[in-house]
């Protein structure tokens, strides 16, 4: 068990902007830390630098308080699961899982015990004699996890491990993966571009854009108190509405908009929103009403259980609780303190 820390980590590929641009990050012990950001923002590069597969241009990586920046991957006591799972195609599942133990020269009998233990945790005892190509995506993922688990590493590094699964499998895999991490209690750094995975699994989330951390916090903090407009619009679907007003951007979540009279009992100041509805989407559990507020595009989301009139082409007097409004600087996009 160990803490992972990066100090001023930079990676520059050739000319142009840095892929990773000065990242300071420290995990807590046993934490499930998610790196979340759009494709190409530098998540994989950051993870590869932590793993020792990519030498940083500047900065340091510390694992368990020790600087490992110049150590090869094998000296870092980490386990990594690649997006492709990178199973060894020429070995049986059992040998795949035993591979890190062989590298560590663990005695044969001990190896077998460990393989059986790891396979048991992931429920793949029945697959040990198969070859990787005879496995489904979900089974491959479990084999990769068993291989990562088997030598009890300091840290798990996971790079979008669920992206190869179909949507149905992904939901249950999310659940299993988190349960598994809780059981073994190993510090985990998990890379994803999927906000549902990040919100659902992370103890904390680092939101990354263009090689920089935009915000680091619990899922609740990130969602309810975004540090800037990037974080505000990257999370949530549909994302936070941003309305220019008095030189600021006024932000509110679609689910916080409601007719005035429905909010009056909620206790708290109301900020009126004049909402011009243009289009409606019925999604079963909820309705999305698209429209305009003060000339800017906006979305409101209502549960299907409440009957809010919102006919396209008509204006409505909606409101938002003042505490649900966030203000951002129009130029920098950074959060500005104080009420609207």
């Amino acid at each position: 068990m160990a803490v992972v820390e990066t100090r001023g980590l930079v990676k520059q590929f050739g000319e142009g902007a840095a892929a990773v641009d000065g990242i300071d990050l420290a995990s807590a012990d046993g934490e499930f830390l998610v790196l979340l950001g759009p494709s190409g923002c530098g998540k994989t590069t950051l993870l590869r630098m932590i793993g020792g597969l990519e030498p940083p241009t500047a900065g340091d990586v510390l694992i368990g308080g020790r600087v490992v920046t110049n150590l090869p991957p094998r000296a870092r006591q980490i386990a990594m699961v690649f997006q492709s799972y990178a199973l060894y195609p020429h070995m049986s599942v059992a040998n795949n899982i035993a591979f890190p133990l062989k590298a560590a020269k663990v005695p044969k009998a001990e190896q077998e015990k460990k393989v059986a233990w790891a396979a048991g945790i992931l429920g793949i005892e029945g697959l040990l004699d198969r070859r990787p190509r005879q496995l489904s995506g979900g089974q491959r993922q479990r084999v990769a996890l068993a291989r990562a688990l088997v030598r009890e590493p300091n840290v798990f590094l996971l790079d979008e491990p669920l992206s190869n699964l179909d949507a149905q499998r992904r939901a249950s895999a999310r659940d299993e993966l988190q349960g598994f991490q809780r059981r073994v209690g190993t510090t985990t750094i998990y890379v994803t571009h999927d906000q549902v995975e990040a919100m659902g699994m992370g103890d904390r989330i680092a939101v990354i854009n263009q090689g920089r951390i935009r915000q680091l916090g619990t899922p609740r903090e990130i969602y309810d108190d975004p540090a800037d407009t990037f974080v505000a619009t990257f999370l949530g679907s549909p994302p936070m509405n941003l309305i220019p007003r008095n030189g600021h951007l006024l932000g509110f979540r679609p689910e916080h908009v409601a007719p005035r009279q429905m909010l009056e009992g909620a206790g708290g100041d109301l900020v009126p929103i004049h909402f011009l509805a243009t289009r409606e989407e019925y999604l079963g559990a909820e309705r999305l009403v698209y429209g305009e507020v003060e000339g800017a595009k906006a979305v409101a989301r209502f549960p299907s259980t409440v009957d809010v009139p919102a006919e396209p082409g008509r204006g409505y007097e909606f409101a938002v609780l003042a505490r649900d409004l966030k203000r951002f600087d129009a130029a920098t996009g950074l959060r500005v303190a104080g009420p609207a």
Binding site: G51, G52, L53, P72, P73, R74, I78, A79, M80, F82, S84, A86, L87, Y88, P89, H90, F99, P100, A103, A104, R133, R147, R151
Partner: protein
């Protein structure tokens, strides 16, 4: 209605199978016929072979072992075979030892230049030996290997290595980087990772290299003719043709015997590896 429909499909399918089998039989016979002819010729007496009205595929006179006896006792055929095997083994070894690291560096370490360099190296293979043997004979003489079978061990890698490097690059390119990096994460150095992942995964590719280097060595003629003139150093391809064609006299039966005796074990050997090759060539194709 449905019944006649399926019956029709069945007839069609049977017809298609019939055509496939007919074609396969035709090509099998087409490929086997020269060998059959060679084997029959080996055991023919001279008068049988040279009588133009005789059917070449039948024994019109009793078969004989005399031609094989001639091959073994009147020429140094066994020495030729020994030389060929020695040269081939040495060339195969040198080729594998050189091409594996070369192809690895070109695919993994040379970046975007790797591909062009690989093609450049392959182009060297296309320069004909009929041109190259002149400068190469100077080199062979300078290192004192004139008239020695070791001259071929020195020179043959100049064409086996370019071709086989290019061949192996294709195999290495199909192995994802991830697998190697995973082995490094799992506790090995880069060399250790290559040894345990890239090499075993590319065994079919390395076997292909072995077969090609072997085959290229077996049928090489120009260099062998240019660099070796004493019977003691000749390989089969040169030894047999220079010593069983005397002036305008062709010892046909002995020539055929010389070819068949080496061809058959090699054919059997290739057959043994056939499954591995096919497995190797389809490795990347099977996904999911």
């Amino acid at each position: 209605m449905a019944g006649t429909g399926t019956a029709l499909v069945g007839v069609k399918r049977a017809g298609a199978r019939g055509i496939i089998y007919a074609l396969a039989t035709f090509f099998a016979l087409f490929a086997a016929l020269p060998f059959a002819w060679m084997i029959i010729t080996v055991f023919k007496q001279n008068t049988d072979l040279y009588t133009r009205t005789n059917n070449p595929f039948l024994f019109n006179e009793p078969p004989t072992l005399g031609n094989i006896d001639l091959l073994v006792t009147q020429t140094k055929y066994l020495t030729f075979v020994g030389n060929t095997l020695l040269v081939a083994a040495a060339v195969v070894l040198i080729t594998v030892v050189a091409t594996v690291p070369a192809a690895y560096s070109l695919t993994r370490l040379a970046g975007r230049w790797g591909e062009s360099l690989g093609i450049g190296i392959f182009l060297v293979y296309l320069v004909p030996p009929t041109l190259l043997f002149i400068p190469l004979s100077r080199i062979v003489a300078d290192v004192g290997l004139n008239n020695s079978r070791w001259s071929m061990v020195l020179v043959y890698p100049t064409f086996t290595i370019p071709f086989c490097t290019w061949l192996l690059m294709g195999f290495f390119k199909s192995i994802p980087w991830d697998i190697e990096e995973q082995a490094m994460i799992d506790g090995y150095s880069r060399l250790g990772a290559i040894w345990r992942t890239v090499i075993p995964i590319s065994v079919p590719g390395i076997l292909t290299v072995v077969v090609f280097a072997f085959a290229l060595t077996l049928h090489e003629f120009v260099y062998a003719l240019a660099f070796v003139s004493s019977s003691a150093g000749k390989t089969i391809s040169v030894g047999v043709t220079t010593e069983l064609i005397r002036g305008d006299v062709f010892f046909w039966q002995a020539l055929m015997a010389a070819a068949v005796i080496v061809a058959i074990p090699i054919a059997l050997l290739y057959n043994l590896f056939l499954d591995r090759f096919i497995a190797g060539f389809t490795l990347g194709a099977v996904k999911g």
